[in-house]
């Protein structure tokens, strides 16, 4: 059962101190030269003001760009193999947008749908998500088209919504959220008659995700994908900024005596992703790779897990060097 409270800006500062005293690291959006990245913060003042979105995404908190999976030493006739343990500490992700927070659910589906990924799980276990509702949206945003919303609680342990009087509305959503409140219960006040909806950004849905999912199997051989991807340069930026893209590569870093195996972000938009050793490539054209991106997120993934592998954050659109716009491309597919 969700508990709804209120916290003042001053009390929030005290809560940050309490979180620090409890041994938790706080990561929040910090701004450097126009980029907004997750950085370690001690006070709310260090959190980027009025940021719309992280430039990359919060997925790196649970799925780092590069992560060691194992290491080894090689000797004549012998190999000493060592398991890797992720270096983690209790962490509060503060001020994540609801779209970012809901992305963790998609990642969980990927990393645990069959066998369990201990690296991902160890990080999630130590993580508490404090979401921050959106009071503004830009043209790339389309969370409401894929089942999310500017005040969605999905994926947050605790969600803050800025109130007009400088306070924050606090929704305590999970046991982890309750632990945060329990650190300093006196900092929270009762919230009476606050209209959360009225405070949120207004964002009309652009397309119906379920209709799109139903439509895609019939569009597989459509010219649409070639048309849309004609200007795609196959850089993979869309996947790297995406909160739900989980495709990865496994690479070896070694010399003749020792080595380590690393997991690195990868993208289905890159040619090498599917290239066989024989030279054969099942998705040799960029159009096929663009189609894979769309189909994985909006057809295959929903068929397996019941929801889109997209949170409508629009980061891919903002990052694209050739201005491909996911919201528009999906709207176009719906109307085809």
């Amino acid at each position: 059962m969700t508990t709804i409270l209120k916290i003042s800006a001053e009390s929030l500062e005290a809560l940050f101190a309490a979180l620090g005293d409890s041994g938790r690291r706080i990561l929040g959006p910090t701004e450097t030269d126009g980029r907004v990245d997750l950085g370690e913060v001690q006070t709310p003042a260090q959190v980027a003001d009025a940021h719309l979105q992280l430039t990359l995404s919060a997925k790196e908190a649970v799925f780092p760009r590069v992560e060691r999976l194992l290491s080894y030493k090689t000797m004549p006739g012998k190999v000493e193999l060592n398991d890797a343990e992720p270096d983690i500490q209790p962490t509060v992700l503060f001020g994540l947008r609801p779209c970012e927070a809901s992305g963790f659910g998609s990642l969980d589906s990927v990393f645990n749908w069959d066998s369990r990924d201990k690296f991902f799980n160890a990080r999630v276990e130590q993580m508490t998500v404090v979401g921050l509702s959106c009071t503004q949206a830009d043209d790339a945003c389309f969370c409401t088209s894929v089942g999310g919303g500017p005040g969605s609680t999905k994926g947050s342990d605790l969600l803050l919504t800025p109130l007009a009087d400088g306070h924050y509305l606090v929704e305590i959503l999970t046991a982890k959220g309750e632990e945060i409140q329990a650190l300093a219960p006196h900092l929270f006040q009762p919230a009476v008659n606050e209209d959360k909806e009225a405070l949120l950004a207004k964002l009309e849905p652009h397309f119906d995700r379920e209709a799109l999912t139903a439509k895609l199997p019939g569009l597989f051989t459509s010219e649409l994908w070639a048309e849309q991807s004609l200007r795609c340069v196959g850089c993979g930026a869309c996947a790297f900024v995406c909160p739900t893209c989980a495709c990865f590569d496994i690479q070896e870093e070694a010399d003749t005596k020792e080595g380590q195996r690393l997991r690195c972000w990868d993208s289905c938009g890159l040619r090498q992703f599917t290239l066989h050793a024989s030279g054969h490539n099942p998705r040799s054209a960029q159009a096929e790779r663009w189609r894979q991106r769309i189909y994985h997120k909006f057809s295959y993934f929903p068929q397996r897990f019941g929801e889109a592998m997209c949170v409508g954050c629009g980061k891919c659109t903002r990052a694209c060097p050739v201005d491909m716009n996911l919201k528009e491309h999906l709207t176009q597919a719906c109307g085809t």
């Binding site: 080894y72 090689t74 398991d83 201990k118 990865f248 590569d249």
Partner: protein, 279 residues
């Protein structure tokens, strides 16, 4: 409670190396840890990730049969970085193995039926596992026929086993090489696999066809089997897309709604028709 690291391979010692064909070798691998050896189980059709420490992992099938315990075998061609490194290994060296991954050939469902195996080139190894398994449970099946072709006599793999199969009365073996690939003393057939199958015209009644080979062989063989009356659910094949994780996570082998590493690599022709041809 710490979770198991699904990316950690078993350490395996190379017990035996067989040179099969130019750049093609078979490793017999034994577990270094006896506990792992005792607990290891797999089914025919499954595959694994093989590590050349210092270079990385490469994916290929388990070419031996689960009926033969205590070891696994793999057969590979030195093509890329990892397989080239594996090819330099010697008996006694240690490599890694992660698996088994994927689904299996449903031998139970094939009981009482005829089996027709059709393999081309380096694609015999995955079927060799099934053939061994079926021969070790010979009374489950009626007639067993194997059609195997390679570019040249030198490129045929498992040459000694082919002789053994040839000598067995309970298996019909047809070996062919592509035109121009024969030697002066070649006694087998000369011709592409689909042509040989066409001449052979195996009856489809109560028969399962198991086909594995290069795309061009598959492309010409499948329509032929349909012409012979094989239904799409009685034709099986095994796919091998590029893979990294083997757990349906890294995304590479994703083809339609299927992860070849989890939902495959074994598919019936009927199932393949439901997938985009991205393999």
């Amino acid at each position: 409670m710490a979770e198991r690291n699904i990316y950690l391979p078993y350490l395996m010692r190379i017990a035996k190396i067989t040179d099969e064909a130019p750049a093609v070798k078979t490793f017999r691998l034994e577990f270094i840890n006896p506990e792992e050896a005792a607990n290891f189980e797999f089914h025919t059709g499954q595959f694994g990730m093989y590590t050349a420490f210092g270079e990385g992992e490469s994916t290929f099938c388990i070419a031996s049969s689960p009926t033969r315990k205590g070891y696994i075998e793999c057969t590979f061609r030195a093509v890329g970085r990892v397989t080239s490194a594996l090819a330099t290994k010697e008996e006694g060296d240690v490599i890694g193995f992660r698996g088994p991954c994927g689904n299996l050939f449903p031998l139970e469902q094939w009981r009482g039926r005829n089996l027709l195996f059709i393999a081309g080139g380096i694609a015999l190894p995955p079927l060799r596992s099934v053939i061994w398994n079926c021969l070790d449970q010979r009374d489950w099946f009626e007639k067993i026929t194997v059609v195997y072709g390679a570019r040249s006599v030198a490129d045929l793999v498992y040459k000694h086993e082919l002789q053994d199969w040839e000598a067995r009365p309970d298996i019909d073996l047809v070996v062919t090489v592509d035109p121009g690939g024969e030697t002066a003393d070649w006694k087998g057939k000369v011709g592409f696999v689909p042509h040989v199958v066409e001449q052979l015209a195996p009856p489809s009644e109560n028969t399962v066809a198991i086909v594995c080979g290069p795309p061009v062989m598959i492309r010409f063989t499948l329509p032929l089997l349909e012409k012979l009356g094989f239904t799409p659910d009685s034709v099986y094949t095994t796919l091998e897309n590029r893979m990294k994780c083997g757990h349906g996570k890294c995304g590479r082998c994703n083809t339609g709604t299927s992860f070849i590493c989890k939902d495959g690599p074994v598919y019936t022709l009927a199932q393949l028709r439901e997938l985009p041809a991205e393999y």
